[in-house]
Symmetry: C2
Subunit: 113 residues, 2 copies
């Protein structure tokens, strides 16, 4: 059945203070990221990937950084998106935050938990 029940889904812990739950198709992946290690004094390191990315801020507040632009303050309900190959990062402004990240193509590196 192509559903994910949050309460019983497999949970990946890619980093301290971060839980990831995900669904994946052939060309599309969506991951729910629950952060509990905020607020952060500075952003994560800038990084990039060939995958296109969208992000819906489901809870909390973040600063979004993307190359050649000033940082932007985003809160629940807002979104950001990242073209293929663009350097970007976030900085948590709240203790907890939930981000819903979608990628195309699929982040194969996320399938190895």
């Amino acid at each position: 059945m192509p559903v994910l029940h949050y309460g019983t889904a497999e949970v990946q812990k890619p980093a301290e203070g971060l839980e990831r739950r995900l669904v994946s198709l052939e060309k599309l992946m969506t991951a729910v990221l629950d952060f509990s290690n905020g607020p952060q004094a500075e952003p994560d390191p800038m990084h990039s990937h060939p995958h296109e990315q969208t992000c819906y801020i489901a809870a909390g507040e973040v600063l979004f950084f993307i190359e050649d632009e000033a940082p932007v303050h985003l809160k629940a309900g807002d979104m950001f998106y990242v073209p293929s190959g663009k350097q970007h990062a976030i900085q948590l402004l709240t203790q907890t935050a939930r981000l819903v990240d979608s990628f195309s193509p699929v982040r194969e590196d996320f399938l190895i938990s």
Copy 2:
């Protein structure tokens, strides 16, 4: 700047009781759908599209229908996903609901508001 601020974003109204705000890249689109026309006594008509789809339930509760499966009750935090071409539908169980739909490829039909 590749962000969407919910409060000031362009709002599409594809149907009565439905608002849509979206971001789009070359192969990936994410749309925030705000429904205010629930609860529904029965599901929307089953439909399909070649685009792969994921959906994050940001608020409210829905029944999710997909061909060959029994309907599933989903609530905030849960997700469903739809392989290319599969018949599917939802039924709102609450008056309001927010769904965050992602598609690959882009739903060109959503770009004509």
